[in-house]
């Protein structure tokens, strides 16, 4: 019987003939932890008597969640991380480098066919490169540092086939929100979601990363996309040319199949307080907002900044609304500067922050007050996620974010199509 991409990666990494349902011990190619999870991992590593990392060249520590540090407690965490990274010779990403997941994707440490793990649930993002990438906890990160290996249950794969051309102002974020709404918050628990179809083949790497990033919001273990020319071109663009990886065999077994056509898709929005509470933007239009966040490991990439800047150019943010723009990495920030996007954001009244997680995790740079409403391009709208438990979070695309920033209320970006609204 043929194998899916995931089964092939686990077979390679465990040196066994692995199929869905098998429990395997696999060698990991890339491991990442950040300032929200590294402290517990380091503590567990020390408690286990760790004196040496099995292969430090595979390990990265990233400061991005509270960066620069907002509290003395976190300054101490950062200090411990820096000393750990220097002592053991791991990769280390300092304050201002960017969001961990974007950094791993740009690092060349994750390639098509890699097995990557991170002490963060959105590690599934790297599946857009054709890698198997999944989130783990801190204690098992410590076990991985010691042994270079972890146990995994090889997941079943659900096929998601996306067909059709996206209408103007409808972005990959709208596609994945639509899918999350259809599948539900636990509809893909423990599964790998493999995206296929003509829409995916035409989609750029930025959009693909948006799709795989949000697969965990359906409980999935990872999202995965077969590598192609777009993947190889992206790897060349980051100075790491590579061709290879795996594709699912024709006769491989998929657990389920979801097929959607996006030709008539409208802009989508996830309403409070769960990511699968998805509606069309038009159905909640007019809701006043206090804050708009453009950034995160979901939507802080160049295509996202371009889509928002295109709408904001020559216009101003509504009085009383705060717009926070956080490029996902320094590399993206520099390119956005060259293209004049940052100038557009500043001139229209946005605040541009340093690369990192921004306000997504509720730690700094835009924490919400009780009763406030935020429209965010990030991936979670749980109660209390970005600050007060009495605040509301709506999740939407960068285009919807820009339109909402100008109008001061939730707005369908299609009103800005072709200069309909000057």
């Amino acid at each position: 019987m043929g194998k899916t991409i995931s089964e092939k990666i686990f077979s390679r990494a465990s040196k066994t003939d692995a199929y869905a349902g098998d429990i395997v011990i696999a060698e990991v190619d890339c491991a990442m932890m950040h300032d929200g999870t590294a402290l517990l991992a380091i503590k567990s590593f020390e408690e286990m008597g760790g004196s040496k990392i099995q292969d430090p060249s595979k390990v990265s520590l990233v400061i991005d969640h509270v960066a620069p540090s907002a509290t003395e407690a976190f300054s101490k965490v950062h200090d411990i991380m820096r000393k750990f990274a220097w002592k053991f010779g791991t990769h280390f990403y300092e304050v201002g480098s960017g969001v961990c997941h974007q950094l791993m994707v740009e690092s060349g440490l994750v390639l098509p066919g890699s097995l990557a793990v991170g002490a963060d649930s959105h590690t599934c993002t790297y599946g857009a490169l054709g890698a198997f990438a999944t989130g783990i906890g801190s204690t098992e990160m410590a076990a991985l540092l010691l042994s270079g290996k972890l146990w995994f249950k090889v997941p079943e794969t659900m096929k998601v086939i996306v067909e059709g051309d996206l209408p103007p102002m409808v972005l990959p974020k709208d596609v994945i929100l639509k899918i999350v709404g259809l599948v539900g918050a636990d509809g893909a628990t423990y599964k790998a979601l493999e995206f296929q179809g003509s829409t995916i083949r035409k989609m750029g790497m930025d959009g693909r990363l948006t799709l795989t990033n949000m697969t965990v919001e359906m409980g999935a273990k990872t999202g995965i996309i077969e590598p192609d020319e777009e993947t190889f071109n992206f790897l060349t663009s980051i100075g790491n040319p590579f061709t290879g990886g795996f594709r699912s065999d024709e006769d491989s077994e998929f657990s389920d199949e979801l097929r959607i056509n996006v030709s008539d898709l409208e802009p989508q929005i996830a309403c409070p307080d769960s990511v699968d509470n998805v509606k069309s933007v038009t159905s909640v239009e007019g809701k006043d907002v206090n804050q708009v966040f453009l950034g995160s490991c979901t939507n802080g990439r160049l295509s996202d900044l371009r889509a928002a800047a295109e709408i904001l150019r020559g216009k101003t943010v509504k009085k009383g609304v705060r717009v926070i723009v956080t490029p996902a990495s320094k590399r993206i920030f520099l390119q956005a500067l060259k293209e004049g996007l940052i100038e557009t954001f500043l001139e229209s009244g946005c605040t541009v922050c340093n690369p990192g997680c921004g306000p997504c995790a509720g730690a700094h740079q835009g924490v919400l007050a009780p009763g406030e409403v935020c429209l965010s391009t990030s991936n979670r709208n749980f109660k209390g996620r970005m600050g007060s438990q009495e605040a509301e979070i709506y999740l939407a695309s960068p285009a919807t974010a820009a339109a909402t920033a100008i109008e001061g209320k939730i707005t369908d970006p299609r009103i800005f199509l072709g200069g309909l609204k000057a």
């Binding site: 999870t37 509270v66 976190f74 204690t139 972890l150 918050a185 636990d186 409980g219």
Partner: protein
């Protein structure tokens, strides 16, 4: 690993931000202090009420959301003996095993009420509702995983055996 305790009942999709909010996880590093905020959005005084050996019983997809190990950690720190739910999110599931917090998947949680007294055993695979005199059979975990749980988690395992289960 027989555990007997009082039930604290919750619903579906109890996410990691509800178990312990990111704003606390990213500002408090002291575990005693952090644990005071466990489940606070759902039950403001949970940390004060819960006693050692008490059980959490919940619906589908318990622990969905972030990979934060602080979620099972604060529950264990407060003395929660085990979590019984219709289903668990995968990272929460792994983290709980690795920390030695027993989990039981049970379809019939709707028949269990807040305040019931249960006796459970994750290795034997049963849930006995002593308040309602009703016995349920539950799924038993694979031996590879039970081995980690029965030693009290990965750190305890390494301390006892001097190596990881797969080394």
């Amino acid at each position: 690993m027989k555990i007997r305790g009082r039930v604290w009942k919750f619903g579906d999709n109890v996410n990691t931000d509800l178990i312990i909010a990111g704003k606390y996880k990213l500002s408090i590093t002291d575990l005693d202090e952090l644990s005071k905020h466990a489940m606070e959005a759902l039950m403001p005084d949970f940390a004060l009420k819960v006693k050692k050996g008490d059980l959490i019983v919940a619906g589908r997809n318990f622990g969905c959301g972030s990979s934060r190990e602080q979620a099972p950690l604060v529950l264990k720190h407060l003395g929660v003996g085990a979590v019984v739910a219709k289903s668990f999110a995968r990272i929460f599931f792994r983290n709980s095993i690795n920390l030695g917090l027993p989990l039981i998947e049970l379809e019939y949680v709707d028949e269990i009420d807040d305040g019931d007294i249960l006796e459970i055993d994750s290795a034997e695979g049963y849930v006995n509702n002593l308040s309602k005199d009703k016995l349920y059979t539950a799924k038993v975990m694979p031996p590879e995983i039970l081995k980690i749980l029965s030693e009290g988690g990965l750190v305890s395992y390494v301390k006892k055996h001097g190596k990881l289960p797969w080394q």
